[in-house]
Amino acid sequence: MQSLSLNRSLREYRRLASDWTLLLGLVVVVVFLAVAIVWPLLKILGVGFSADALALYRKYFSSPVYLRIMWNTVELGLVVGAVGTLLGFLFAYVQVRLDVPLKKFMNLMALLPIISPPFAVATAAIVLFGRGGLITYQLFGIRNNLYGFRGLVLVLSLSLFTVAYLNLKGMMEALDPALDEAATNLGANKWAVFRTVTLPMLIPGIAGSFLLLFVEAIADLANPLVLGGDFTVLASRVYIAISGEYDTLAGAVLSLILLVPSLTVYLVQRYWVSRKSFISVTGKPSGRHQSIRNPLVRWGLFAVVMLISLLILMLYGTVVVGAFTKLFGINFDFTLANFEFVIMGLGSQAMGDTSAMSAISTPIAGLLGMVIAWLVVRKSFAGRAVLDFVAMLGIAVPGTVLGIGYLLAFNAPLKIGNNVLLPALAGGTALAGGWIAIILAYVVRSVPAGLRAGVASLQQIDPAIEEASISLGADSSVTFRKITLPLIRPAFFTGLVYSFARAMTSLSAVIFLATPEAKIMTAQILNEVDAGRFGNAFAYCVILIGLVLAVIGLLYVVVGTSNGVERDLGRAR
C-alpha cells in the first residue's frame, strides 16, 4: 500500500519534472519559502529552545508580572477580535441588507483603514479624546485617560475592522436570497430568519474574522508602545528587549511565547472553522436580497453605523488638518512647516526607500501568490498542502516574530566552513544596504493575500479551459500566461493593490531591519509619534496615504478593472 502511494507520488514528480517551466516555478517557490519563512522561524526555534532560553522561560512563567503580560496580550486579542468583528458585521449588514442613504460613504469609511499607517488613528484619538483632547476636554471638560486597555481597544478595533467588514460583506453578498425567502414562506418572521438562517450561514466568516483580528491585535507592537500606559503586552516587550538591550535571546523567547496563541488560532481557523462552512457557491446568487423594512432596525442600525463612520471621518480628518496645523489642540494656525520638516529632513529618503522597496516587493508578491495558488489548485503533487500552509505562515506568524527571525537569520552571513553561502541580508552593512531582507519581509507578509484570492478565483474556473489549451499543444507556462492569468486577473490585481498597501503601512515585521541605507516611513512615524511631534507624524501619514492612493490609482489604470477587487480582498484575508 505504502509503496503504491510512493510510486504514485514519484510518478507525479516525474510528470512535474517533464514540464520544465512548471518545475522552475516550483523550485523558485520552494527556495523562496525556505529562505524567507522556514529558515528565520527555525532560527527563532533554535535560539528559543537553547539551554539559556529555558532559564528565561522558567523566569517568565514563574513571574506574576510576566504572566500578567501574557494574559494582557490574550485579553487584548480577544476583545479587539470581538469588537472589530462586531463593527465589521454591522457595516457589512447595513451595506448588503439595508436600503438606506449614504451607503457609499459608509463603505469608504470602512475601507479607509486599509491604506492608513498604523499610528494615524492612535495619534488622532489622543488629540481628540485624550486628557487634553479637543473634544473630551476642550469641549466637554472631561480629562479622559486614553492610555491603557480602553484606548488600545478603541484604536485597534477601528484600525483593523476592515478585514472583518470585507470578509463578511463578501459572504453576505454570496448568500442565496432564496434561503431567506424559503424561511419567510414557511412563516418565520425577519428576526427568526436572521437568527436561524442568516447568522448560522455567516458563522465561518464571523469566526474567521475574529481569529484574524485576534492575530493582528496581539502582533501589534506600535500602538501599545505609544498608547499602552501601564497595560503591557508581549509585542512591546519584544521591542524594548531588542531596541533597549539588543537582547536577542529574550526577543526570541518572548516571540515564541507570542507565536503560540497566534498559531493556535490560525490552525483552529484553518482546520476547524473552514470545515463548518455551509456555503457552496455555484455561480452568482439568483435574485436580490430583500431589504429590512422594520424602521426601528433599519434606522437604528443606520444611526449606529453612521456615527461610527463619522468618528472615522473625524479621526482621519484630524490627521489631514493636523498635518497643516502648528500645534493641534493648542495653536491652530495654518502651517506648511510639518511638510517642510518631513520632506526637507530625512523624510524624503524614508519616502523614497519605502516606496521603492514596496514597489519592488509588489510584483514579486503578486506573481508568487498567483503561482502558488495555481500549483496548489491545479497541480497534484505530494506536499501541495504543505506549500500552501507554509506560504500562509506569512500572515499567521506575527510581524514582530518574523522580524526577530530575520534579525537572527540574516544579520550575519551564512557560512559553511570559510565559504560564504549567503551574505548578510539585514543590518547596516548588509548586501544592498539591507534592502533585500526588508523586501523579503514585505513579500512574505503580502503573499498570503494574493494566494487566497488566487485560490478562490481559480476554484471557480473550470479546469477544462486550461486542459483544452494543453491539448492544443501549449505548455504550462504558455497556458498559465495566456489562459490562467487573464482569467484570474481581478485576483491578481487585488494581490498587487493589497501587497503595496500592506508593505507601505507595515511596521512590526520591518522595524528591526531598518538601516541607514534603508529607512522605513512607518518607523519614522513611530519616532515622531513617540517624541510627541504629532504635526510631523500627521504630515507623514498624509504623504503615505497619498502615495498608496496614487499607486493604487496607477494600478487601476494599468492593470485595469476594479471588478471584484473588494470582494477578492475580503476573501484574501
Binding site: V65, R143, L225, D230, G352, A356, L431, E517, A531, V558
Partner: protein, 350 residues
C-alpha cells in the same frame, strides 16, 4: 493580451527606476573615497540632527546620512554591529552612554585639535568622547493641569510621590533613554550611591507614572498637551517646547539637587569613514557649529567657551546640581536598566 504587455512594461519601469535608485548607494559605499560619505548615529532632537547633518554636508561636501536613536538604543545598536559597524560617528546623548560604549570597546579615541578649548571636566581623559553640550534635568509641568489637580509646581523629588499625581507623571524608559537613566542615577546619587534606595523611590513613583516613553524628551509634549501634569525631562527640552508654543509649561527643579548631562560625541570603533568622522568631531566642537543648536530651538549649553550662550538656556549656576559621577554611573548602567525593566516598568500599579 495587450493588457499584459502594459502590466509588464509598468512593472519593468518601476523595477528599473527603483533599481537605479538603490544601485547608487551600495556602489558609492564601496568606493573608499576620502571624505566621500558619513553615517551619523544621532541622539538629540531630530530637528537638530537634520540641521547639523545638512550644514555639515553643505560645508564639507561629504554626503552625510543619519539615524536618530535614543541613548540606550544607540549603545544596543553599536553593540549589535560591533564586528561590522554601520555607523561612523555617534553624536549627542548623555556621557554615561559613551562611558558604557568606551568600556565595551565600541569607541575609537580621537583628540580633536578643537577639543583643547573644552574644559577638562567636559571630556573623556582618554579622548573616547568629547562634550558638545551640557544641560540639567528638571520637571516640566503643565500649570493648568497642576491647578486642576490642586497641586503646586513640584520642587522636590518627594513631591512627585503625592498620590494626587496618580497617572499624571511620565518619564522615558531607562533602557532606551539616556534622559531617564540620568534621572535614575540622580536619585542614586542623592541616596549616597545606594541603588536599592533608588529602586524603592522609583517603585513608589511607578504608581504615579502614566507611561514610560521610548525617547527621553517625549514626556514633554505629553505635558504640553495636558495629557499629564509633570514630565521628568531635561530642562532644555522643556524650554524648546515652550518656545514651540506649548505655553502652559513651567520648568522647576528639585531642591535636593538635580542631575545633568554632558552630551558627547565620539568615533565608532572600526568606522568605515574614519577621516570624515574626525572631520565631523572637529566641526561640531567649533563655536559656530554649537551656536547652530539654538536656531532649531535646542537650548543646551554649549561646551565651547567661545560659543554664545542662548538667552533662553537654563544656566547651571541657577540650579542645584548633584555630584554626578559618569564613571560610576556607566559601570552600574546595564544592571540598573535590566533591573528596572524587569522589576518596575512592566509591574502593575497599586
Amino acid at each position: 493580451m495587450r493588457g499584459y504587455v502594459k502590466v509588464f512594461v509598468f512593472l519593468v519601469v518601476i523595477m528599473a527606476t527603483v533599481l537605479s535608485g538603490c544601485k547608487t548607494q551600495p556602489t558609492e559605499q564601496a568606493k573608499p573615497a576620502v571624505g566621500g560619505k558619513l553615517t551619523v548615529l544621532c541622539t538629540p532632537q531630530e530637528d537638530w540632527c537634520v540641521a547639523l547633518t545638512q550644514k555639515f554636508q553643505a560645508d564639507t561636501g561629504i554626503e552625510t546620512n543619519y539615524v536618530r536613536l535614543s541613548s540606550g538604543e544607540s549603545v544596543a545598536r553599536l553593540r549589535a554591529g560591533k564586528d561590522n559597524p554601520e555607523f561612523d560617528v555617534w553624536f549627542g546623548g548623555p556621557a554615561d552612554g559613551y562611558m558604557v560604549a568606551k568600556n565595551e570597546g565600541l569607541l575609537e579615541p580621537y583628540v580633536s585639535p578643537n577639543a583643547a578649548v573644552i574644559p577638562d571636566a567636559l571630556k573623556d581623559k582618554d579622548g573616547y568622547w568629547t562634550g558638545i553640550y551640557v544641560g540639567a534635568l528638571g520637571f516640566c509641568s503643565n500649570k493648568k493641569v497642576l491647578d486642576s489637580l490642586g497641586l503646586p509646581v513640584p520642587t522636590s523629588w518627594q513631591d512627585l510621590l503625592d498620590p494626587k499625581y496618580k497617572g499624571q507623571i511620565a518619564m522615558a524608559h531607562p533602557a532606551t533613554s539616556g534622559t531617564a537613566f540620568t534621572a535614575f542615577w540622580t536619585v542614586v546619587t542623592l541616596n549616597n550611591y545606594d541603588i536599592d534606595a533608588a529602586f524603592t523611590y522609583y517603585k513608589s513613583l511607578h504608581n504615579n507614572i502614566l507611561q514610560y516613553t521610548k525617547t527621553g524628551s517625549a514626556p514633554g509634549p505629553m505635558a504640553g498637551r495636558g495629557e499629564i501634569a509633570t514630565a521628568i525631562i531635561f530642562s532644555h527640552d522643556c524650554v524648546k517646547y515652550q518656545e514651540e508654543g506649548m505655553t502652559d509649561l513651567v520648568i522647576s527643579f528639585p531642591k535636593e539637587g538635580t542631575g545633568y548631562e554632558i552630551g558627547g560625541v565620539g568615533i565608532v570603533k572600526g568606522a568605515k569613514n574614519p577621516d570624515a568622522a574626525k572631520l565631523w568631531i572637529d566641526y561640531v566642537l567649533t563655536a559656530k557649529t554649537q551656536e547652530l543648536a539654538a536656531t532649531v530651538k535646542s537650548f543646551q549649553l554649549p561646551t565651547n567657551p567661545d560659543a554664545k550662550v542662548p538667552e533662553k538656556s537654563v544656566k547651571l549656576a541657577d540650579v542645584k546640581l548633584v555630584d554626578y559621577n559618569f564613571t560610576k554611573s556607566a559601570e552600574a548602567k546595564k544592571g540598573i536598566t535590566e533591573r528596572f525593566d524587569a522589576e518596575i516598568a512592566p509591574a502593575p500599579k497599586e
